[in-house]
Symmetry: C2
Subunit: 469 residues, 2 copies
């Protein structure tokens, strides 16, 4: 497969400059190369082997842990094997935390164990655990509005269900309870927080995830309950008697420590200083193996760059794959990346991240100046045959990309089908068997079109309004 591609695309790239017209900002030569890359991605790319390698050889890799360190080493080695021109790391500082065990059980009126998971950076219970009555709230707002004497000394139980849709849009409303529930409970003198998992499954897995911990002066223990366990508490409460729950949690917050953003580049042949960033995050939560979140994204962007590196010549600009560290605990790697690359931001022509699992891409969103929509329209010619429709111009390009977008960097968003994503998200069940090699190839096909055309185009994509504007 390799030889015909090389000879074909070599000629095409050489003739690109001749065919530019105003109506079509991307020359036909580039389009033709992108089409070849797309079809090659579908037929013979192998992103699955990358996520397989990451999950088998590294597995869980929460920021600042030993697994994280192994992941950083793995990523550099893999990028070198794949033929990147430059591979390097940039150190970041990350808050660290020991999960320890977390146990919960109903002690009255119907003694039963519960399946729970500590929420990120939560604190321990007192030695020997704590036992208190639970008090139920349908959502965070209800807890915020409750009089403190209804909550004081009790375990606040936020019991909000998340809507299951392809876009994952149920996440925003549901995650509020996880982000801010512990603080709300703490401020009203609660003994602890129990949260119905932010997830769309009905499996007996609790979904962990990060809480807002900054500025919480007297934090309380905070645990997610699996959906069946939240149902169980709900059913017990309906019977009208006080429900007493015992919690025993052993978490510990540590001092900050080092982690790394891992970077691999395909260096541009004409304007190496101009950069398109395609990203994913290298860290994961610690109870699964991070196959969907975000091993799949790591594989998609690495394989995209590898395919482009096989062309007979480098694209005009640099394609930079950034595997961000510590995304899960607050976009820590991306924020530090942008801070330490302020001087370079104007040269980052666009950014995009793959961080929504391993479903097929079905929509192409952008964040571009209106004057550049024609470029996206041309990309759509190659994306539409992949089953992708044109979306909106409100993309923030993925979680880590949003930090760049806030600074005016244009973004692309290849939106995956996320119907099942929150079934597995942040649970022990985020494992390799949930990844379909075929769907992953479709992702790479879309990513290689977008990435090649952006690094190869003449002109630029301008800037977008910053969050300050």
């Amino acid at each position: 497969m390799l030889k015909p591609l090389l000879s074909l695309t070599g000629g095409l790239i050489a003739t690109m400059a001749l065919s530019i017209t105003q109506a079509n900002p991307l020359p036909q030569g580039s389009i033709s190369v992108a089409e070849v890359l797309r079809d090659r991605a579908l037929e013979s790319s192998d992103p699955y082997s990358i996520v397989e390698s990451l999950t088998v050889e590294v597995g869980p890799r929460r920021a600042g842990t030993e697994g994280d360190r192994r992941a950083v080493a793995w990523a550099q080695k893999k990028m070198k094997e794949l033929g990147f021109d430059r591979v390097y790391t940039e150190q970041i500082d990350v808050p660290r935390w020991v999960r320890g065990h977390a146990q919960a059980e109903v002690v009255a009126p119907f003694p039963q164990p519960l399946v729970v998971s500590s929420l990120g950076y939560g604190i321990a219970t007192p030695e020997g655990g704590l036992t208190a009555e639970i008090v139920e709230f349908p959502n965070l707002e209800a807890l915020l509005k409750a009089p403190a004497d209804k909550v004081k000394g009790k375990i606040a139980f936020i019991n909000k269900r998340m809507e299951k849709v392809r876009t994952g849009e149920g996440y925003g409303p549901a995650v509020q309870g996880r982000s801010k529930g512990m603080q709300a409970a703490a401020e009203k003198g609660a003994a602890a927080l129990l949260l119905r998992s932010v997830g769309t499954d009905s499996d007996r897995f609790a979904h962990t995830g990060m809480m807002s911990i900054d500025g919480v002066e007297t934090p309380v223990p905070a645990l997610a309950l699996s959906a069946p366990d939240a149902n169980l508490l709900e059913a017990m409460l309906k019977r009208g008697k006080p429900v007493l729950v015992k919690l025993n949690v052993e978490s510990e917050r540590l001092n900050d420590g080092p982690s790394f953003n891992v970077v691999g580049e395909i260096t541009g042949r004409e304007k190496p200083e101009e950069v398109m960033i395609i990203g994913a995050h290298l860290d994961s939560w610690d109870e699964g193996t991070g196959a969907l979140d975000d091993g799949a994204g790591v594989a998609i962007v690495m394989e995209t760059a590898r395919l482009i590196s096989e062309l007979p010549e480098r694209p005009r600009r640099t394609l930079r794959v950034v595997l961000f560290g510590a995304e899960e605990i607050g976009l820590v790697g991306a924020k530090q990346y942008v801070e330490s690359h302020l001087d370079e931001l104007d040269n980052i022509v666009a950014v995009s991240e793959s961080d929504f699992g391993a479903g097929k891409v079905w929509r192409f969103d952008t964040r571009l100046p209106e004057s550049k929509f024609d470029i996206a329209d041309q990309m759509m010619q190659l994306l539409a045959p992949l089953g992708i429709e044109r979306g909106n111009n409100k993309s923030y390009g993925g979680p880590d990309s949003s930090v760049f977008v806030a600074r005016g960097v244009p973004a692309f968003g290849l939106y995956q089908n996320g119907m099942d994503y929150f079934d597995y998200h942040h649970t022990p069940n985020d494992t390799l068997d949930k990844v379909d090699p075929e769907k992953l190839r479709q992702n790479v096909a879309a990513w290689v079109v977008m990435s090649f055309l952006t690094t190869e185009m003449e002109g630029d994509l301008g800037r977008v309004p910053t969050s300050a504007e």
Copy 2:
């Protein structure tokens, strides 16, 4: 709904004896009553509330535990509430076991935690755990055939996948490794056994279950791995380096203790000494709440009896609901039941058990003398509209029923769709949300037809060949 049924069926039962013909052993009057019961089951029975009550108010109830004792109390109270004529218990002796914790992790070449579950009545590791290389076998037979020096001092890893089919027929071949794997490993000097879970899901739950422990002189620790974890070990082994696993298990075997079969009867009006037994098992494994295994069965047979108890008069024979204890650990309750009821066996006209989850009944199997097939044919007239087809005459009537069948008692088998049953079987994920109230009603509709017609029929069902014959 109750009044019309009462007046209708009162008259029908009274006229039954008049309409018997040789061609149709069950009189039209009985058929008509059974039809009314069936439709009432579909429209207004509420088996779901029974399994809801059991799982919420009791939950896990492994034989010989505190949960088991609560389940026994719950069952008696519930049967009395439902209007059974007699409710009583019969004590049994059960082996007891403390699960304790079970942890496993790969320590080399790719350190990662594994999700495991101790197999029933397994032993602990030495203090501090044990670490050994794993050696993979595709199935039990391969382990049995392996030279001892290939296994000695290592952790035997049986990696057999189970086939997923509606009948659950993949279970038999797969469960061999669980039943006999530990003994086979122990006899070859293995340090421990790791077993790919006997299950059809790809969720990160290990499936527990009973092992053959009798006669194993030097048992070794034995753990089930979730399917994703078995995949992980498989993938590591393919890389060709020794895979070292550390196990830390804290189980403990206790002396035998008491449990109970719980019995509730609708006493026959003419031949109370003749009995149809409809059963389910009250015990469950301890990591889920036993909704599918076998809370659903408990609900189906209890609601069946309740519907029949609402008729204006009792059926001719006694309908006896037996909730067997300690099924999960080797049909312990059923075996002791039969032993202590040997004098009564000839009066047990038929037996059947619901113990295959909460799927719709799709097939009606029997174990009858050929001369009695016409009775089953008549039952089919009322079962066919429920989407049930006539099956074979090889039924053993369910696990506990098989002990009766071996003694010559005829059996019925209302076969449920078990496509998903082994996704949840013996895992923490066996919870109430997996039970569909509509499907449960369809079950009761079938059970009430079979149970009423058997308790009401003239004549009998004879005997079937015993296992000794």
